[in-house]
């Protein structure tokens, strides 16, 4: 006999992501990251537990108000968004990426380019 209560929760988690607010949020995040919606949903289902998933829209709203206030570059790549508010990445990994993006911005002198490169890196990190 296996674990009594262990069950595949992916379907239940997918049901949570079906509500209109979740759909619009996921498509917006997918747009920001430049990835396909099903991929992002898959990553969310894999990395977040059900309470996080239910709470996604409220957490995103809080990030819009509170998160990454002082740092323009961190807000552009969503440093706190993807680690604290929508926990898709490891904080250490994010710190490393942020440093990389920062040096890149200092070298090239254009924060936009560096931010888009950073988002690329985040995307790769989420997809793996």
């Amino acid at each position: 006999m296996g674990y009594l209560y262990e069950k595949d929760l992916r379907m239940m988690k997918y049901h949570i992501l079906q509500s209109p607010r979740h759909m619009s949020l996921v498509s917006r995040l997918a747009d920001d990251l430049g990835m396909r919606v099903p991929d992002l949903q898959k990553a969310m289902i894999r990395r977040c537990d059900m309470a996080y998933l239910e709470n996604l829209p409220a957490r995103y709203e809080t990030w819009l108000e509170e998160g990454d206030r002082d740092d323009e570059l961190a807000r552009a790549i969503g440093r706190e968004l993807y680690t604290i508010y929508v926990p898709l990445l490891d904080p250490d990994k994010m710190q490393e990426l942020h440093l990389k993006v920062k040096t890149m911005a200092d070298e090239s002198g254009s924060p936009q380019e560096a931010a888009s490169a950073g988002i690329c890196m985040i995307r790769e990190e989420i997809l793996t």
Binding site: L9, H15, P20, R21, Y52, E54, N55, P57, A58, T62
Partner: protein, 362 residues
């Protein structure tokens, strides 16, 4: 979630301390909880999916049955959102009656939350006392609306039944009795040495964390965020001179005491509403129209938001319900439980945030 340690303790889905099925997996080192994970899905009914394409007279009942404990506020927020969409004005008497029923419902909800907390810390005597007071509150709710739990009291443009003169007299006497009861048990709770040993300084949730996790309701007000009470923005409550109650400690004790304080405050509000109850009609009429809105109200557990879109016949096209339990349970399991020193405190901490799984999953 990654495995941090070798001991992973599952609590639930059927557990004596919570009445609804939810499963918490605690990663512990010794008895200290390092992290916790929630497993839901035992109550997912898909209410938002059923609501689509239905007129208000059906969605009203579905909204009530999102949560059986705080059913009145779900009804109220849905109906007020529909009124905002369609521009229906409310007779003043109906607005006051809504407040009376809503506050009665808040009282019974807080009483059952505090009952659960006392039950969880194994103080069954106090728990039973509180349950007895709750029965008195439910009697009054039944007297005003005709039902104990799912009252179906509010409709667009008014309420269903008026409050008779003799009923309001009975309500006043009952409120005085309830007040003496609640004050007595509140004193028992706040001065009991064993209770404070098990409640004070446990699972402290600071103001910064509370803002970051966006907790709402009594959980937020216990951490010192008085502006989280949306009643101070509701027009009828402003007329009644509403002032939120709050505390700074942010531990289990503060969360329970805030609820006790709010019960007393609700009694005051009802008495004030009864004193200034205007005469007049209780129904204004009005037909639901097309529109889109996001409407929030203060449920017993915190901010309740309805995102509604209707078509030209007043039927719901798209609806999302953001219940307070979503934020509270999430913050409780991921922030408050982290660092709790004993597994015995896990259940009491979880209950102190007043979780409502039926709300959370819908």
């Amino acid at each position: 979630m990654k495995k941090l340690v070798d001991v992973s303790i599952p609590i639930g889905p059927v557990h004596p301390c919570w009445k609804e099925p939810v499963r918490i997996k605690c990663e512990t080192s010794g008895e200290r909880v390092l992290s916790a994970e929630v497993e839901l899905g035992y109550m997912k009914k898909g209410i938002e999916k059923i609501m689509r394409g239905r007129p208000w007279q059906e969605v009203m009942f579905l909204a009530e049955r999102v949560c059986g404990i705080c059913s009145v506020i779900h009804n109220m927020v849905f109906i007020e959102a529909m009124e905002e969409i369609s521009g229906i004005s409310l007779p003043p008497r109906a607005a006051y009656l809504r407040v009376i029923v809503n506050e009665l419902d808040r009282m019974q909800s807080h009483l059952i939350a505090n009952f659960s907390y006392c039950y969880t810390i194994e103080h069954e005597t106090l728990a039973m006392y509180l349950l007895d007071v709750r029965e008195q509150v439910l009697d009054q709710l039944e007297r005003v609306t005709g039902a104990r739990i799912n009252t179906a009291y509010m409709i667009p443009g008014g309420v269903r039944f008026d409050l008779m003169e003799e009923d309001s007299g009975a309500l006043r006497t009952a409120l005085r009795e309830i007040e003496t009861g609640v004050k007595r048990y509140m004193k028992m709770f706040s001065s009991g040495p064993l209770i404070s040993l098990r409640s004070r300084g446990i699972a402290v949730f600071s103001r910064e964390d509370a803002i970051k996790a966006r907790v709402v309701g009594p959980t937020a007000r216990a951490s010192g965020i008085p502006e989280s009470d949306l009643r101070s923005r509701h027009p009828t409550y402003i007329k009644l001179g509403f002032q939120p109650v709050w505390r700074e400690e942010g531990d289990n004790f503060a969360r329970v005491m805030v609820r006790f304080d709010e019960i007393l405050q609700s009694i005051d509000l009802i008495q004030k509403a009864l004193d200034t109850l205007p005469e007049g009609d209780i129904r204004g009429g009005g037909i639901c129209k097309a529109g889109e809105t996001a409407y929030s109200g203060e449920a017993p557990r915190g901010e309740l938001r309805y995102f509604i879109k209707t078509d030209e016949y007043g039927r719901v096209v798209d609806i999302t319900i953001q219940t307070p339990s979503i934020m509270n349970i999430e913050a409780c399991t991921h922030s408050m439980l982290k660092g709790v020193t004993s597994l015995a405190d896990v259940t009491s901490t979880f209950i102190s945030a007043d979780p409502c799984i039926a709300c959370m999953e819908r």
